[in-house]
């Protein structure tokens, strides 16, 4: 059966949700072999087995964390040469896409980024132009390198052997030119990461100030959700840039996206229009965001949101 390489996203301890999504996708097209860089593979084995990994290639070196992107691309190119897989799947995170790009150049292969599904013949589905057009694309040269949008695929468990196979590969000096000297983690507290969360609550211009974002945080926390922000809000300094959802920010695809005080300009829609369910609160009935809403409330968010938070609390006590 065709082997599909899956580059694992992890933080050395936890297997990230997107890895389980990639495994689910890979299983439909071949036998998944996880590629695990750095430490933590033994501890992760059970989780990878739970989602059908047949093998886990382990390259346990600090180089993959210490240098930007290039070492992972080198490793994958080496595995492509050794194992001739049918495809390589990665998460379409900023880093994942860059690994995909470098790998494509190294191997002379086509690359598809930000696909939301993979069909027969490894055809990738992509949603473009703010959701206006859905495209089916495929790679026609080399080994398909496919970067998948996190949260677009629902993970399904299926057991696999997850047999660990250490890879003897040394990263070359050519790949070690951009050195990571430190990591600064911004305050996020306990909230889930934006591109992984199943619920995202986003605030926009309608909030009027940075202080009022506490209302968004309250609603998010009542749902165990991640917090997002529109461009208007981050430009105004009301919330940090890394929480911006939209064309020049993050693309998210959660089960539920709540747009609070956001008008829904197309550059925002580009970042969230593949969300499964969209709820809107806005005082302007003409706001374009209502076109996307599965459920919308035309009203003052300063009245609607506190009431919603109260109702959620009541129901969780019931």
């Amino acid at each position: 059966m065709a082997e599909i390489l899956v580059l694992a996203e992890h933080d050395g301890q936890t297997v990230k949700k997107v890895t389980t999504e990639l495994l689910t996708l890979a299983r439909a097209h071949g036998e998944p072999s996880v590629v695990w860089t750095g430490e933590g593979a033994e501890a992760a084995r059970a989780r990878l087995a739970e989602f059908g990994a047949a093998k886990v290639y382990v390259a346990d070196s600090a180089d993959y964390e210490d240098f930007v992107v290039a070492p992972k691309a080198e490793l994958l190119a080496h595995l492509i040469a050794e194992k001739s897989p049918a495809a390589v799947l990665l998460a379409a995170t900023s880093e994942g896409r860059e690994v995909a790009g470098r790998l494509a150049v190294k191997t002379g292969s086509g690359v598809l980024t930000d696909v939301t599904g993979v069909g027969d013949g490894l055809t990738g589905e992509q949603s473009i132009f703010g959701g206006a057009i859905t495209v089916q694309s495929r790679v026609r040269t080399g080994t398909p390198v496919i970067a998948v949008r996190p949260n677009a695929v629902t993970p399904e468990a299926a057991s696999g052997a997850a047999e660990i196979e250490p890879v003897s590969f040394t990263v070359t000096d050519d790949a070690k030119t951009a050195r990571v000297t430190g990591k600064v983690v911004a305050e996020r507290g306990e909230r889930p990461e934006l591109t992984e969360a199943s619920i995202v609550v986003s605030g926009g211009r309608g909030l009027g100030s940075g202080e009022h974002f506490s209302l968004i945080e309250q609603l998010a926390d009542s749902l165990g959700a991640a917090v997002g922000a529109s461009r208007a809000a981050t430009d105004a300094g009301w919330y940090p840039h890394q929480f911006q959802v939209g064309q020049t920010g993050k693309t998210v695809s959660p089960q539920l996206y709540m747009a609070i005080g956001i008008s829904g300009a197309i550059q925002h829609r580009a970042g969230m229009q593949t969300s499964k369910t969209i709820m809107v609160v806005n005082k302007d009935p003409e706001a374009p965001i209502f076109e996307l809403a599965d459920f919308g409330v035309v009203g003052d968010l300063f009245k609607v949101v506190p009431q919603l938070v109260e109702e959620i609390a009541k129901r969780s006590e019931a």
Binding site: V68, A73, T93, S94, R97, E98, A100, G101, A104, V105, K106, G108, S109, V111, T113, D114, T123, S127, F129, A132, I133, T134, V135, Q136, S137, R140, T141, T177, A178, V180, T181, G182, K183, V184, V185, A186, R188, E193, L223, Q242, T248, L256, Q267, A270, T277, V281, P285, F290, E291, A293, F295, G296, V297, V298, D300, K303, Q307, L308, E311, R315
Partner: protein
Amino acid sequence: MNIVVLVKQVPDTWSERKLRAEDSTLDRDAADAVINELDDYAIEEGLRLQEALGGEVTIVSMGPDKAADAIRKALSMGADKAVHVSDDALRGSDGLVTSAVLAKVLERTAFDVVILGSESTDARMGTLAAMLSERLGVPQMSFASKVETDGSKISIHRQADYGYDTVEATLPAVVSVVEKINEPRYPSFKGIMAAKKKPVEKLTLADLGIDPGEAGLGASATEVVSFANRPPRAAGTIVTDEGDGGAKAAEYLASRKFI
């Protein structure tokens, strides 16, 4: 310092963007054309480096003839000169071809730093910086929300989901920027007038020694199998708050099992 800034002309996000029915390529004539949004930030960063360390800022762009407008805008912000690669054979080129062409241009231009936006608003791949770094064999300093250099060493804040990494390298390097990095200046009237006289070198594939067979749609490593306008979402339920908006929203969430 020799500072090169890459610029791309893209269809305006606010226009209706289309793919051509015949070959599924982007219809660059259907919509208004503008400079890629993040490129403004790249140009601004290039100009700031020039102000700090001296040298020249050269704009490089690959695009059809009308990309000249985007180049002029970049020049009017203060860049010194430009190189415009334009060739009919390039139409429909994928990322691999684009990066190969730009790498050829950069190989014949002495550069200390190449700065570009981290992503374009049309293709949105976010891979050009990585591909160029791979082809040119120079450090990949991408997703930069801050850049510091003394002309020989460079360090950046590389934006990440959790915050950022600090990354160091020696020049020459490829740097891609995110929105957070700066506030782009508006061209002054004087800058707009001066831009008209700044030199723009036009290059074809022949000038770069690239075979037309290695460019364009035919040379693409990927292909569009089909495309369709996304069916409009089924109309949702919109209610007006009459003192119960929050309660109705909670009911909806409960009916969908979110709470």
